[in-house]
Amino acid sequence: MRTARLVLTRLAGIVFAILVIAVINFCLVRAAPGDPAMVIAGQSGSTDEKFLAQVRADYGLDQPYAVQLGTYLKKIVTLDLGYSFRQGRPVSDLILERLGPTLLLTLSAFFISLIGGVVFGALAGLRHGKITDLGISLAALVLYATPVFWLGLMLVLLFSIKLEWLPAFGYADMRAKTFGTVGYALDVLKHLILPALTLAAIYMAAYTRLMRAALIEVAAEDHVKTARAKGLSESAILRGHMLRNASLPVITFAGLQIGALVGGAVVVETVFSWPGLGRLTFDAVTARDYPVLLGLFLVMSILVIAVNLLTDLIHRLVDPRLAVR
């Protein structure tokens, strides 16, 4: 009952938040200098007044701001994301076709980093001060400090150019559709390995450090000492009394991370030519493709809000104290 009410108040808040975000987004994209007409002109190498006026009319930029905002909000309410005149396609199509590859990459990276980070962090935390801890902490620190594009390029250099094991970039082989379903899936998987590992590396380092620190802290707490005094086995203490507590900061961080991940990962997508939302966003920003940009912001804010809600629910499952309050 309490949970149901919470969800309802949350939903009302979410609708309000989305509208506020939409208005802020609208103002934000228009605050940047230049407009789509300027960009197309700049990229075409020649232009004239008529052309600029045509593009501006297409985008509705010849209307007053209030009218533009009104049109935009009306479209949001009717779930119409609009049309990209630059690309000659509906925005929803542009976003939807990128959503699959984006989620594939970011979710793979998310789970690799989460699982790897928790395992390595727990190992380091349990062997606190020993050589295992030292090795893992050092590796995590180095990974954490590595620029992601450089790591990506080094992996390409090693696995694609020197060893020729994995493709250097792309989402699938151009002829992959002729390979059959299994062949296609395998081909995508093969293309996924390097970008997913690259993207996972830095987050894995963060999780490792977080998990290790949390575990060391929990180990020193009274309830763990009590459990040990009761004569529980070390593995029971670990499972029942330490891991659950230590995982709370990790879950919080994971919630933040997954929210950021749905927006894509522009650097990794660029290095590996991955057709994700990050690149679409980056291109839309530089091209001032307002409808695409606003559509992306809206979809991302909805996803982030949804993920936050989910994180809260998971928190309450892992930590019953939150539900009682």
């Binding site: 940047a32 200098p33 230049g34 407009d35 789509p36 300027m38 960009v39 197309i40 002109a41 700049g42 990229q43 075409s44 190498g45 020649s46 004239d48 007044e49 008529k50 052309f51 600029l52 045509q54 049309y83 630059r86 690309q87 000659g88 396609r89 076709e97 990128r98 590859p101 390029l153 390409v156 694609s160 150019i161 060893l163 020729e164 094991w165 493709p167 250097a168 970039f169 792309g170 989402y171 082989d173 151009m174 002829r175 390979f179 062949g183 395998l186 081909d187 093969k190 660029t270 290095v271 590996f272 030519s273 991955w274 057709p275 690149r279 679409l280 291109d283 920003v285 530089t286 091209a287």
Partner: protein, 529 residues
């Protein structure tokens, strides 16, 4: 571990199915198995409908799908494409084109003179700024029969023949576009042209796949079965694509200048800088002549004397270009190198600055100016940094401002800058691609690539105007020679270098780069040797 072992491990079994094995080993194959070409496109074009969009990458891909009446060889002599022959009347007012009679659109409809009239007289005038300027010169565009088109000019315009290059006047199908809202036509998703290749699939963000058009009007062409344009946004990855054989061709800015020699040196790779003659980009430092002290010719000369422009050619573009002598590129028609020269001479520069009364302050600074860096890649940033360093020698302090495409375009076209750099295509003739930067009638606020520096000289206006309508090449040469001398003496902009682009391709590709539009040509003749 050997590659094969790894594959076995990857599959978790020693008994990999044959097709999986082939799949894993076939990743780095060069040409597509049935005679196609794999290349790179960057940035990804927004759309492929060339009549609606003339960005360079649109021209690269769209140039295979769309055609115009003519094509041009390396010295810009017209060659047949959709027109088999043509005549120009003695007075330079009437252009008559005879069209190929067996050409078809990609949807099977026949191509006729009606398509040409519709494109040049109606659609392009509405949507294509450059074509609009050219075809607005026509009194009438008519089709006396299905395979003849006559362009009647209001007054002679010497370079009119160059208006029939593919990106300048791409012919669009009348039956698809007539009476529609051109830019919102659903057909824009599936471009219909007469070119040797047609769009098969566009996986946005990944690749564009073109396949040979079987009903192409030239017997035995195209020589390639398909072309894949892979979208590779990262420069290092593009080099990797050529190295691993995942692509057979790179053009324009695909490969960073510093990496060109290394990539071109790979086995089986060939490098050419030919095939950009129609564009002949000229780069310069653009000055806002409305501002002090940039409006003083002595100051502009002083800046020129502070520049060692050879440094740009040797160390910034790594030999992909040559130092410019003036406004017209050597590869454009009517170039004249007999103009004043500016070699680096700091003493001369300082003398000019002293003469202007620009005394250095306590820190040795005479003038402070800003420089808006254009967002056209690393080279432009290096060129800006080089400028700042060079100017410091004369006590001119430059503050560099970074921006993106929209911000730069906004600043330059609204004259809200001190100094920037710019690079413009010349389209083969000074009347098409050079005059626009210097004639006062083209000072148009808000319009990029107009006379944005604000240069005004009635004599220059007159010479460019006369040269555009003169019909004899000797007369035009005399007029352009004179205008080049005046401009080089007055320095409305500081020309730096004529840019060249590297086309790097698999040496078994034959007849690939065959004319002045090179990699943006239609590739009908290209084939594997």
């Amino acid at each position: 571990m050997k590659r094969r072992d790894f594959h076995k491990m990857l599959l978790g079994t020693g008994a990999a199915l044959p097709f999986l094995d082939g799949l894993l080993n076939g990743a780095a194959s060069a040409a597509t198995p049935d005679g196609g070409l794999v290349t790179i496109i960057q940035p990804e074009p927004p759309i492929l409908v060339l009549p609606l969009n003339q960005q360079t990458p649109t021209g690269t891909v769209g140039g295979k799908i769309y055609e115009s009446l003519l094509t041009f060889d390396f010295d810009l002599t017209p060659q047949p494409q959709l027109a088999t022959s043509w005549e120009v009347s003695e007075d330079g007012l009437t252009y008559t084109f005879h069209l190929v009679e067996n050409a078809k659109w990609h949807d099977g409809e026949p191509f006729t003179a009606a398509d040409v009239v519709f494109s040049c007289d109606v659609m392009l005038k509405e949507v294509h700024p450059r074509a609009r300027a050219n075809f607005d010169r026509c009194e009438s565009i008519t089709a006396p029969d299905d395979y003849t088109v006559v362009f009647q000019l209001k007054e002679p315009f010497a370079p009119f023949i160059l208006a029939f290059e593919a990106s300048s006047a791409p012919i669009a199908p009348k039956h698809v576009y007539e009476g529609t809202d051109y830019r919102n036509n659903p057909a824009n998703d599936k471009p219909i042209g007469t070119g040797p290749f047609m769009l098969n699939e566009w996986a946005r963000g990944s690749y564009i796949h073109l396949t040979a058009f079987e009903d192409y009007y030239v017997e035995g062409q195209p020589g390639l079965t398909e072309i894949y344009y892979k979208i590779v946004p990262d420069a290092a990855s593009r080099s990797v694509a050529l190295e691993t054989g995942e692509a057979n061709l790179a053009q324009w800015n695909d490969i960073e200048p510093f990496d060109v020699q290394r990539v071109a040196g790979l086995p089986n790779m060939e490098l050419t800088t030919k095939g950009y003659e129609f564009f002949s980009p000229m780069a310069w430092y653009e000055l806002n002549l409305r501002k002090e002290p940039l409006n003083d010719v002595r100051f502009r000369k002083a800046m020129m004397y502070l520049l060692d422009r050879n440094f740009i050619v040797d160390n910034i573009v790594f030999g992909l270009g040559q130092v410019a002598t003036g406004p017209i590129a050597t590869t454009t028609r009517f170039y004249d190198g007999d103009v004043p020269k500016y070699e680096k001479d700091v003493d001369k520069a300082i003398a000019l600055l002293d003469e202007m009364g620009l005394a250095p302050d306590g820190d040795g600074v005479r003038v402070k100016l800003t420089y808006t860096i254009p967002p056209y890649g690393e080279v432009m940033t290096r060129i800006a940094e080089f400028f700042r360093q060079s100017m410091a020698e004369g006590g001119i302090e430059i503050t560099l401002l970074s921006t993106d495409m929209a911000g730069w375009a906004q600043a330059i076209s609204n004259w809200d800058y001190d100094i920037s750099s710019n690079m413009l295509y010349q389209f083969g003739d000074p009347a098409l691609g050079v005059a626009r930067t210097y004639i006062s009638s083209n000072i148009r606020k808000g319009v990029l690539f107009s006379n944005t520096e604000g240069y005004e000289n009635p004599k220059v206006d007159e010479l460019f105007a006369k040269a555009a309508v003169a019909t004899s090449d000797e007369e035009r040469q005399a007029l352009y020679s004179e205008v080049q001398k005046i401009l080089v003496d007055e320095l409305p902009v500081l020309w730096t270098y004529e840019a060249q682009y590297p086309t790097i391709y698999d040496s078994s590709l034959k007849d690939l780069i065959v004319g002045a539009t090179g990699a943006n040509g239609n590739f009908a003749k290209a084939h594997w040797g």
